[in-house]
Every structure is written in C-alpha cells, then in structure tokens.
C-alpha cells in the first residue's frame, strides 16, 4: 500500500487535524508536546510514521487529556503549488472524544472517495462523513473497498508515563513540518449549500 502512488519516503503530506471548537491540539515533537494550537492543526507528516497527538481543553470534558495517534498511509498528488490547499482532513468529533474518555477505543480510517462511485450528498468543510462498521469488521478493509485509504486515526484513553517509556509512547517523535493554514475558500460560509449529512447506506461486509 505504501508503494502505491509513487515515491512516498521523505514527502511531507499536508494534513489538517481538527478537534471540536475550543479544544487544543499538540503534536509530539522532539520528545515533548509543543504548544497546542486551537481547534485546527496543519502539519506536514511523513507517510508510514505514527504520530502522537495531545488533545486538551476538550469542550464538555474539563481536565481530560487524550492522546490519539495519526498514521498516514498514502499521499496526494495535487498540481504543483496546491499541496497546502488540499490537505488530508482528519476530524476528531466530540462524540468520539467522549467515547474515548469513557474507555472505548475508536478507530477511524480516512479514505479518498472513489469519484466514479461517490455518495451523492453535499460535503461540509467542518464535518467529515463517517460510516460505522461492526466490531468484527476491519475498517481498513472496508475503506479500501470504498476508495483509497489515506490515514488511520486511533483514539483511546491511554495516558503516557513520564519515564523511559515516554519516547516509545511518542513513537520517537517523527519529524513534523508546520504549515500555515490553507487558503480559505472565497465563498462565505452562509453561501454554501446546506445539506443534511447522514450515514450513507452502504452494504456491510460479511
């Protein structure tokens, strides 16, 4: 899978990580979590290296800190100069953060939709569609059938230990490139067409 799409080693794929409004996101860099950015984190990540995030100030969960991981599986090939305009979006919803704080483990596979078989609904920039699968189904396999898997987000409630295991917890802090926020759309938000976002009815795998 990593060989698909051309030379991926050393390429920093622009990624946009969003958490609920009011939350703070930090990514492990040089063995520590740098100062968190509010709500949206834009960063260039290497493909194949897991990254540890730190989510704090979660709305509705005061004092709770969560440490999800992000792993990119593939890269995009945008026209030259449009790399930052088209990042891979990874959204952490309030529901998922709450479930993780209660002890559940959430796995979300972000995939590039097949344009020849799209779900005919209007997408919104601040919400990512998701399809729930059962516990005995592999979300990576389902995503591979619906499109091209791009990233894996794992959210649990594991807390780091500040000892010699800390570096292992952070996956040795792979290099990160910080990227300025992408160019916002010239269309105001109120002009965007509003559509009801619902879970698409796609057949379950057995």
């Amino acid at each position: 899978m990593l060989l698909r799409g051309g030379p991926v080693p050393g390429y920093f794929q622009p990624t946009q990580i969003r958490c609920p409004q009011g939350g703070s996101i930090a990514i492990a860099t040089n063995g520590t979590f740098a100062g968190g950015t509010p709500s949206v984190l834009n960063a260039g990540l290497l493909i194949g290296s897991p990254y540890r995030l730190k989510i704090t100030e979660i709305p509705g969960l005061p004092g709770v800190e969560l440490y999800p991981t992000v792993e990119l599986l593939d890269r995009l090939h945008p026209p030259v100069g449009l790399e930052i305009r088209f990042p891979i979006p990874i959204h952490l919803t309030s529901q998922e953060l709450r479930m993780a704080a209660e002890g559940l483990f959430v796995t979300r596979v972000i995939y590039l939709e097949d344009p020849t078989n799209p779900v005919v609904i209007q997408d919104q920039a601040n919400r990512q569609r998701f399809l729930d699968v059962r516990f005995n189904e592999d979300p990576l396999r389902v995503a591979d059938q619906l499109g091209r898997p791009m990233a894996i987000l794992r959210i649990g409630s594991r807390q780091p230990r500040m000892d010699r295991q800390t570096e292992r917890f952070m996956f040795s802090s792979p290099p990160v490139r910080s990227i300025m926020p992408p160019q916002q759309s010239s269309i105001p938000a109120d002009k965007l067409e509003r559509a009801i976002i619902s879970t698409p009815s796609i057949g379950r795998l057995r």
């Binding site: 050393g10 026209p79 483990f105 979300r108 972000i110 209007q122 919104q124 920039a125 979300p139």
Partner: protein, 430 residues
C-alpha cells in the same frame, strides 16, 4: 636456514615500506592530494543554509539537530562527496512563506531534488491519479449513439456531446474535450471497540475445551480388551505347521491334475479346429457377397460426381473481368467544432464551477437541430437558473437514476456556416 631467509625478506619488506612512507610524506602523491582536496571542498563550501529535504526546506543552524549533515568533518574523516552534492540542490517547490523550519529532520528523509511537475508513473498519462480528479466532458467508456428520433444511447456520466442534422438528413455527433478538475473528497470508516465485545469472545472459547476431554475417555478401554484375545491365538501356532503340510499335498495333486488335463485337451482342440474351418467356409460366401455390393456402390458414387460438368463452373472468369470503381462524390462537409472549458482547474467541496461550451459551424453547409447534451458527474450539482445561451434555445434538466443530471440545450434556429455560439452554466462541487 629457512628461518634466516624469512627474516631477511621481512627486513627487506620493512625497509622498502618505510622508504615508501617517507616518500609519500615528503612529496604530495596523487591519493593524498585527493584526500586533502575533498576535505578542503567540504570545509570551504561548508554547509548550505537551505537544504532540500523531500519537498521541504531545512535550516541546519539548529544546534541539537540529530541530522548527521550538520556534523562538521575533521581532517581524519572522509566525507562522501556525493552526499554533499545532494545537499546543494535547489530549494523547494512548496511556497517558502507557508513553510517553517522543521525540527530534526533525519538525513534519510532526503529523496533527491524537488519535483517541479507532479509525479506520474511511467506509461501512464496525466492526470495521475485519476481518483483525485473529477472529469467532465468528452465521450468516455461507450460511444454515444443518436437515433433518428433523437433518442440517445450510451450517454455515460461525465459525457458532453453535440448532435445535429445535416442537409442530407444525417445525424452527426461531435464530442467535447475532457476536463480534469482536481477535487479530492474524503470520508471515513469508523469502528468503536469496547470491553463488552471481548467478553463475548471469551465465552466462545470456554465452551470448546470440555468437549474434547469427554471424547478422549471413551474408546481406550475397549482396545485393551482386544489385546487379551490376541494372546490366546499365540497358543495355536502349532496348527500353522500342519497347515503347511496340507499345502504341499495340494500342490502335488495339482500337478497330477494338470497332466491329466493336457491329455483331455488335445481332442478338444481338434474339435475346435474343425469348427473353425467350418466357420471360415461359411464366411467366405458372405464376404464375397459383400464385395460385390461394395463394387456396385462405388460405381454409383463415381457416376454421381460428374467431374467434367463441374469444372466449367469452378472457373470464375467473371472475377478476372470485374473492375472496382471508387467514386468520390464532391459534397459539402458538415462540421461542428465544440469545446468545453471550466472556470477553475481545482475545487473544494462546496465551491462553484462555471462551465462554458463553445460550438461553431466550421463546415461549408448549414446545420440544423443542433443539440448540446451534458451528463454531469455525480460530484457536480447543477445550480438552478444558472444556465445561459447566446442563441435562442430550449433548456431541459433531466434527472437520472443515479442522482446526477443531464443538461440539454436544443438550439431553435439552424446554424449558418461560420456561426458560433456558447452556453454557460454553473455547478457546485459536492
């Protein structure tokens, strides 16, 4: 004697090597000069301030960088020249203003000079990969057909065509160009795992284990009882010796019987020979009849062929005389040049795209019933009331079963030679 010779050779070798070392230290030999030059080059060029790492720029002034490229070589180390050449590549394709200095990028992340054009695998034409693009226009997959009643077949999604009537009454079809629009869209698949699900799996494994133990305790006791019975049979081994004697007697009797049998066979063979003769005599008569009938049949078959009569028919003299004539009828050409363009080549979900279809009668005859048909992709939603046409036309939006739409413009008046027109419409990217 042998030891003395060896010591002499060792002394000679040490003396010669010592002289060579002194000469090499005094005079600048060729390998030594290369060594000094390489180190001098490294130190004089020092390290570039901007280093290309993948598609990024790296500031090597960071003091605690783990990258070995920031290590200043000393005189006892030979640095790879090829590595230094890599570090002097041109900077980055990404906008430098939007990128900041990354901390601690390892040197193994370097992948060569930056790419100025999108990477595509050999043998595959751009745009690549196609799953990141939304295409519009052209006539892909199946070729579109238009019948005389204007019904259209094989109009696939993303197709854009125009069909018109010529003065001869024919229907011609023209296809537009294919427009790639970079518009990747993402979704996700989610799974939530909890402790209750693992408890359920543990119960399944617990049920399987006691069943195996019950099966193992049933059959072993009966097999031990059979072994006791077999020991009683060992007492009867003497009977087997007697049985061998009986076999010998049977062999003798068999030999005698065979001699007697040979005598009895002789007259029987004679009888058989006599019967064979009789049978052969009877068959000869039958075979002779069959031969006569076969001769009669072959005569009939040869008479049916009439080979002499067929030969004249097989000579196709007409083919030699025939001549092919190719006529070029001088008629006017009916042509429609049609092109399609989009306002942007990339779009995010929610953004608007404006398409313009320009068509022109480039033939030398007028054409009529010009119809423009555009089958939108499912990623594009037509904005109501956004269409416009420079010629008087009727506009229709036909929804399809796949939640896409087919736009159709029927131009009212015929188009004269050289006349051009265009239609525009807007779509929102889903």
């Amino acid at each position: 004697m042998l030891r003395i010779t060896t010591n002499d050779n060792l002394l000679r070798f040490i003396a010669v090597s010592g002289l060579l070392c002194m000469l090499s230290a005094c005079s600048p030999t060729r390998p030594l000069s290369i060594h000094r030059n390489s180190i001098a080059d490294l130190q004089s060029t020092s390290l570039p301030s901007v280093v290309t790492v993948g598609d990024a720029s790296l500031n090597l002034a960071e003091p605690e960088s783990r990258a070995s490229i920031s290590h200043v070589p000393n005189a006892h180390e030979v640095q790879p020249i090829q590595h230094v050449q890599h570090l002097q590549q041109a900077p980055v394709p990404m906008p430098a203003t939007a990128l900041q200095n990354p901390p601690g990028i390892p040197p193994q992340a370097y992948t060569g000079p930056p790419q100025t054009t999108p990477w595509t695998p050999t043998g595959i034409s751009a745009p690549f990969p196609e799953d990141e693009y939304v295409f519009q226009g052209g006539d892909g997959y199946q070729l579109t057909n238009v019948a005389q009643d204007f019904s259209i077949d094989n109009l696939d999604e993303e197709d854009t065509i125009a069909h018109f009537h010529t003065l001869d009454g024919d229907i011609q079809i023209e296809r537009t160009n294919r427009i790639p629009i970079y518009a990747p869209r993402f979704a996700s698949v989610r799974r939530v795992d909890g402790l209750n699900q693992y408890r359920h799996q543990d119960h399944v494994y617990a049920v399987d284990s006691p069943l195996a133990i019950d099966g193992a305790t049933q059959s072993q006791g009966q097999e031990q009882v059979k072994q006791q019975v077999s020991s009683q049979r060992n007492i009867g081994t003497k009977a087997s010796a007697l049985y061998r004697e009986n076999q010998k007697l049977r062999d003798m009797a068999h030999q005698v019987a065979s001699l007697e049998g040979s005598q009895l066979v002789k007259p029987q063979v004679g009888d058989l020979l006599n019967t064979k003769v009789n049978i052969q005599n009877s068959q000869e008569a039958r075979l002779s009849i069959q031969q006569q009938t076969a001769i009669a049949q072959t005569d009939e078959e040869t008479a049916k062929e009439y080979a002499y009569d067929l030969l004249p028919y097989k000579i196709l003299s007409n083919n030699k005389i025939q001549t092919n004539y190719h006529y070029e009828i001088a008629e006017g050409n009916s042509r429609l040049d049609i092109k399609k363009v989009a306002s942007k080549q990339d779009a995010l979900p929610g953004e608007l795209l404006e398409f313009t279809i320009t068509f022109r009668n480039t033939g030398d005859k007028a054409i009529g019933n010009v119809t423009i048909v555009d089958h939108l992709s499912r990623r594009l939603a037509y904005v109501e009331g956004s269409q416009n046409s420079t010629l008087e036309s009727e506009f229709f939006v036909n929804p399809t079963g796949k939640d896409s739409a087919i736009l159709r413009w029927e131009i009212a008046e015929p188009m004269e030679v050289g006349q051009s027109a265009q239609v525009t419409f807007k779509c929102r990217v889903r």
